[in-house]
C-alpha cells in the first residue's frame, strides 16, 4: 500500500512537472497561446480543464476496460474517446446551466471550447496506451491538469507584463509569446531526470 502511494505521487510529479503537457509534450498549445493573455481567463480555463481531464480519464478508462477490450474493438479508441468527451462536456454544460448558473457564467465559455481539444483527448489515449490502472489513470489526469494549469498561470503572468514591453513590430503578439515559452521550456528541462519511472 505504502509503495503504491509513493508510485502514485511520483506519477503525479512526473505528469505535472517533468512531462509537462505544454513544455515537453507540446499539447494544448492552441489553448495555451489563446487564453494566456489575461490572468482571469487563464485561471478559469485551468480549473475547467483539470476537472474535465480527471473525469474524462475516469469515464474513458471504464469504457475502455469494460466495454472495448471485451468486445475487442480497441482500434476504435479515437472515435470512442472523442464521443465520450464530447457527450460528457455537452452534458455537464447543460447540468451546470440548470444547477449552478453562477458557476456556469464563469466557466461555461471554456467548456464549449474543450470538447475537441487535443490535451483532453491525449489523457485517455496515453492511459490506454500505457495500460494504466483506474487509480493511476485518475492521478495521471489530475497531474496533467495541474501541470497545464501551472503552465497557463506562469504564461499569463508573463504576458500581462509583456503587453507593456516595447517589442519589435513583426514580433509583437504570438512570435514573442513563442520565444518566451521557449525560455520557460528551457527552465522546465531542469526537472528532467528528477524521477525516472
Amino acid at each position: 500500500m505504502d509503495k503504491e502511494l509513493v508510485h502514485l505521487f511520483e506519477l503525479f510529479i512526473s505528469a505535472s512537472l517533468i512531462n509537462n503537457f505544454v513544455f515537453t509534450r507540446f499539447l494544448g498549445l492552441c489553448i495555451f497561446f489563446g487564453v494566456s493573455k489575461k490572468m482571469e481567463t487563464a485561471v478559469g480555463m485551468s480549473v475547467t480543464f483539470t476537472a474535465v481531464m480527471v473525469i474524462s480519464a475516469a469515464l474513458s478508462w471504464l469504457i475502455y476496460n469494460y466495454v472495448m477490450i471485451p468486445l475487442d474493438i480497441t482500434f476504435l479508441k479515437i472515435v470512442v474517446f472523442i464521443g465520450i468527451i464530447a457527450t460528457f462536456v455537452q452534458a455537464s454544460d447543460t447540468i451546470m446551466r440548470k444547477i449552478t448558473p453562477g458557476l456556469y457564467y464563469k466557466l461555461g465559455v471554456y467548456l464549449a471550447l474543450i470538447s475537441t481539444n487535443c490535451i483532453i483527448l491525449a489523457v485517455p489515449l496515453i492511459n490506454a496506451g500505457e495500460k494504466y490502472t483506474f487509480m493511476t489513470s485518475l492521478v495521471f489526469g489530475l497531474g496533467s491538469g495541474i501541470g497545464f494549469a501551472l503552465a497557463l498561470v506562469i504564461m499569463a503572468s508573463i504576458r500581462e507584463k509583456l503587453e507593456l514591453a516595447d517589442v519589435p513590430r513583426p514580433f509583437a503578439g504570438l512570435p514573442i509569446a513563442f520565444i518566451t515559452t521557449a525560455l520557460i521550456a528551457l527552465a522546465f528541462t531542469g526537472f528532467a531526470g528528477m524521477i525516472t519511472l
Binding site: 489563446g34 476504435l76 489515449l125 514580433f171 512570435p175 521550456a185
Partner: protein, 215 residues
C-alpha cells in the same frame, strides 16, 4: 472545351496557393500548433506527419462535400468529428503497420490529428458548401501549407541541432543541442513566425498581425 476549362484551372491553383501561403495553418493562422513543435526535431518525422495531415485533410473534405446534402445541419459538428476520427483511425493504423519505427516516436501525435482545428474548420467553412473537386483542391492547399511549415521548421532544427538533413550528416561541427530540446521548437517557430510577419509588413503592407489565436 479548352476555352471552358481554362478559368476553372486558374481558380483551383488559386485555391491551393491560398492554403499554402495566405492562410498558412502554422505561420499565418497559428492553429494546429502542437505537432509543429512536437515532431519537428527531425525532418523524417515532420514529413511523415505532414503527409498524414494532407491525406486526412483531403479525405475529410471529399467525404464532407459528398455528404453535404445528407448531413442534417443541426448535428453537423458531431458528424464531422465522426468523419475526421474515422479517417484519422485509417492513417493511424496504416502508419502503425508500414512505418513501425517512426510510429513509435510519433504515434500519439498522429492520433491527435483528430483534434486539429484546421481540419474541422475547412470541413465547416469550405467542404460543406462546395462541390467535391474544389473541396479536394482546398484540402490539398491547406494540407500542403501545413507540410511546408513543418518542413521549414524541421529543416532548421535538424540542421542546427544535429548537423544533418533527413538523417544525412552534413556538418561535422559541434551541433546546438538546444534546437533538439523542446525549447528549440518554440524558439524556431517564434523566429520564423516573426520572419513571415516581417515579410508581410515589408513587402505586402500588412500590419503584422499575430494570428488567429491572438485576438
Amino acid at each position: 472545351m479548352l476555352h471552358h476549362e481554362e478559368p476553372e484551372k486558374i481558380n483551383y491553383l488559386k485555391t491551393v496557393l491560398v492554403g499554402i501561403f495566405k492562410d498558412n495553418t502554422i505561420f499565418r493562422l497559428a492553429i494546429s500548433l502542437c505537432p509543429a513543435i512536437a515532431v519537428t526535431n527531425s525532418m523524417k518525422t515532420a514529413l511523415m506527419m505532414g503527409i498524414a495531415v494532407v491525406f486526412v485533410q483531403i479525405m475529410v473534405n471529399i467525404t464532407v462535400s459528398a455528404l453535404r446534402y445528407v448531413i442534417n445541419p443541426k448535428v453537423r459538428i458531431p458528424v464531422y468529428m465522426l468523419i475526421i476520427s474515422g479517417w484519422v483511425t485509417v492513417i493511424d493504423l496504416l502508419t502503425a503497420a508500414f512505418f513501425t519505427q517512426i510510429y513509435k516516436q510519433m504515434g500519439l501525435y498522429i492520433q491527435l490529428i483528430v483534434a486539429f482545428a484546421s481540419i474541422l474548420a475547412r470541413a465547416e467553412f469550405f467542404a460543406s458548401k462546395n462541390r467535391m473537386v474544389p473541396s479536394f483542391f482546398d484540402g490539398l492547399g491547406m494540407g500542403l501549407g501545413f507540410l511546408l511549415a513543418l518542413t521549414v521548421i524541421s529543416f532548421f532544427r535538424e540542421l542546427l541541432g544535429k548537423g544533418s538533413l533527413i538523417g544525412l550528416q552534413l556538418i561535422n561541427a559541434k551541433p546546438l543541442l538546444i534546437m533538439l530540446l523542446p525549447a528549440g521548437g518554440f524558439l524556431t517557430t517564434g523566429l520564423l513566425m516573426g520572419f513571415f510577419n516581417w515579410i508581410d509588413m515589408r513587402f505586402y503592407g500588412g500590419k503584422g498581425a499575430g494570428g488567429a489565436t491572438d485576438q
